[in-house]
């Protein structure tokens, strides 16, 4: 039997298909304004990619902030549950998950069955999220994709003291005015964002092995900063961005 998961995040929409405990395929696209359209399209794309049609899918779970908009899903479940299930599917040894998404970040503790045992998520503040990094990338005129690489060349990471995205941006602009090196500023930004996520991890006393999920996991600089902050290595799956969608498909198989 084939099961689908659709994750409508604030930046990107993801879809995943699983069959008999095996991942069949995933797709990612920008969410845009219309959640249902994005969900319908990304689901259609992943079906086409796998050579399947809607009737081949036994059950669908939607997740992410737009989960309630996906009216053709059998059930909507939170991204915390789905990232937990997805991480466990990708690596059953995982006991901790750090999910840094577009507009929020979460630390999740899992039991040995992949069930969520505890979690903490950032509050209204966007510090420590993908949006925070995006704002800083714009201020520094560097593409989001290159931030990680650039930061790894830093010799003396700058110190970002503000925890608010807006204030941190003005602090970064002051550093640019002082002609601090771009790579040092970016490394400082990663350290500041990692410190925020570290607070969440400490709240739930996260245990290893820890997997980092969400689109920001692709950022090598952020991964390095978080590893320093958590004092342990992070496991990154090639499917880090689609982990929520994969978990949703796993949970669909249990409906």
């Amino acid at each position: 039997m084939i099961f689908a998961g659709i994750d409508i995040g604030s930046n990107t929409a993801k879809a995943a298909l699983i069959k008999d405990g095996t991942l069949m395929g995933t797709r990612v696209m920008l969410t845009g304004y219309h959640h249902l359209k994005a969900g319908t399209r990304v689901f259609g794309d992943v079906l086409v990619q796998a050579g399947l049609s809607r009737s081949d899918v036994s059950a669908i779970v939607s997740t992410g902030y737009g989960r309630a908009s996906i009216d053709f899903a059998d059930k909507a479940m939170t991204e915390i549950l789905c990232h937990g299930a997805g991480a466990h599917f990708l690596n059953p040894d995982i006991r901790g998950v750090i999910d840094v998404g577009g507009q929020d970040s979460k630390a999740i503790a899992l039991d040995d069955r992949g069930q969520v045992d505890n979690f903490a998520m950032n509050d209204k503040c966007a510090a420590g999220t993908g949006r925070f990094l995006e704002v800083m990338a714009n201020a520094l005129e560097v593409s989001l994709d290159r931030m990680g690489e650039v930061s790894l060349t830093a010799d003396k990471p700058s110190k970002i003291s503000s925890i608010c995205t807006v204030f941190a941006e003005s602090e970064v602009i002051s550093m640019i005015a002082r002609q601090e090196k771009r790579e040092n500023i970016i490394a400082g930004i990663h350290a500041a964002a990692a410190a925020r996520v570290g607070i969440l991890a400490a709240k739930i006393r996260i245990q290893g092995p820890v997997m980092m999920t969400g689109g920001v996991a692709k950022n090598k600089g952020m991964k390095a900063a978080l590893e320093t902050q958590l004092n342990q290595p992070l496991i990154i799956s090639p499917h880090c961005q689609e982990t929520g969608a994969i978990g949703a498909a796993v949970l669909a198989s249990r409906l």
Binding site: Y65, M77, T78, L81, V116, D117, D123, K124
Partner: protein, 370 residues
């Protein structure tokens, strides 16, 4: 049920409620905390009205209270400074947390305030001397009311008010017991409205309507559905969306230790003892606020007993941002719950204002974890 609708109206249309109370001839005394001796205020011929922040944006209060004070205190001060509480004939401030004490000071020093009383309650409530001290504080409040209003409050007046408030508490307890034992039969938003309304509306009307609601439950058919049973722990919870979100996620609130919940209406005042002694006993012995002390593990013991009594699956801490007393208590309470294998989660929020997406994500996940 039309009786429940009246309780919703009482807080939703406060100006109408105030007009109705005015017609009874009673002066209106506001109070921000459940340690206020409502029976005394009522026995003085006044109407005790619990103050809730109306939810308007903070503008003038910003000049007096920093943003690290809780939204309840800042919101009440804003309502006061903006003139939305001009109908009050006075206010009573029990001595509890720091922010509440500063609210009292700022209230007194800014504008017309009519009757005003600070109740310097004991901090430790479980000592023999605290009983005598609490009674003396209440006696002072009684005397201040008598002087300000040029009246005399007799033991009979006080006994009558105690009996009326006991009726309200008893009816609320009966309704809440049904609500707790049969989740889904009464919506959480309706239960909240009953409790909040009973703190605001004319108490004779509240007692009569609550008696009708309690009586109607005897004939209500019961079709229990399995839900995740949740106990709320915290201070003030005036977020109507909270119980809706819990119910939408497949849960139900079955008990609480909130200042705007069971902490307010649980327990009765002894009607045999001398009235002031009985009142002092009740306010010392009821479920405790973390701004007070009655033993190292009193709050945890109460919470665990509440969980056991209601067969709850978990505890949701509803923490007002910047509420120091509750924030200080949280780690030890969580540890005590963890030791008993009771799942819990802290939901930090501003009174009445939520980021809906994150709010429902947290609650749905927590309910699923139970």
């Amino acid at each position: 049920m039309k009786e429940i609708a009246r309780f919703h109206e009482a807080s939703d249309r406060l100006s109408d409620t105030v007009a109705r109370i005015r017609r009874t001839g009673r002066k209106i005394i506001g109070y921000p905390c459940s340690y206020a001796p409502e029976e005394l205020i009522h026995a003085a011929g006044c109407h005790p009205l619990r103050l809730f922040a109306s939810g308007h944006g903070i503008v003038q209060a910003e000049n007096h209270l920093q943003s690290y004070c809780c939204s309840v205190v800042r919101g009440i001060l804003e309502d006061r400074l903006a003139g939305r509480l001009d109908f009050l004939d006075g206010a009573v401030f029990p001595h509890t947390c720091d922010s509440m004490q500063r609210l009292s000071d700022i209230w007194r020093m800014n504008g017309r305030h009519g009757f005003f009383a600070d109740l310097a309650l004991p901090a430790k409530l479980n000592t023999p001397s605290s009983a005598a001290y609490m009674e003396s504080v209440l006696a002072r409040c009684k005397s201040d009311l008598e002087t300000a209003l040029k009246i005399s409050i007799t033991d009979d007046d006080l006994a009558a008010s105690i009996a009326l408030f006991n009726q309200i508490r008893t009816h609320l307890s009966v309704i809440h017991d049904f609500y707790s034992r049969h989740p889904g039969q009464i919506r959480g938003s309706d239960m909240n409205a009953l409790v909040k309304g009973a703190m605001i509306m004319d108490r004779n009307e509240a007692a009569a309507l609550l008696a009708d609601v309690a009586a109607s439950l005897r004939h209500m058919p019961v079709t229990d559905t399995p839900v995740k049973r949740v106990v709320l722990a915290g201070s003030v919870c005036d977020t109507p969306d909270l119980s809706d979100a819990i119910e939408a996620a497949g849960g139900a609130v079955v008990g609480d230790d909130l200042c705007t919940g069971q902490r307010w209406f649980d327990g009765r005042v002894d009607e045999v003892l001398p009235p002031l002694t009985a009142l002092a006993d009740r306010y010392r012995e009821r479920a405790i606020c973390p701004a007070k002390h009655a033993g190292l593990t009193t709050r945890a013991d109460h919470l665990i007993s509440l969980v056991n009594h209601t067969r709850a699956h978990g505890v949701l801490f509803v923490m007002l941002k910047f509420c120091d007393p509750h924030a200080f208590d949280y780690p030890y309470l969580k540890k005590c719950l963890d030791e008993k294998g009771i799942k819990s989660m802290a939901l930090e929020m501003d009174d009445g204002h939520q980021n809906q997406g994150q709010f429902s994500t947290r609650i749905e996940t927590f309910i699923h974890m139970l």
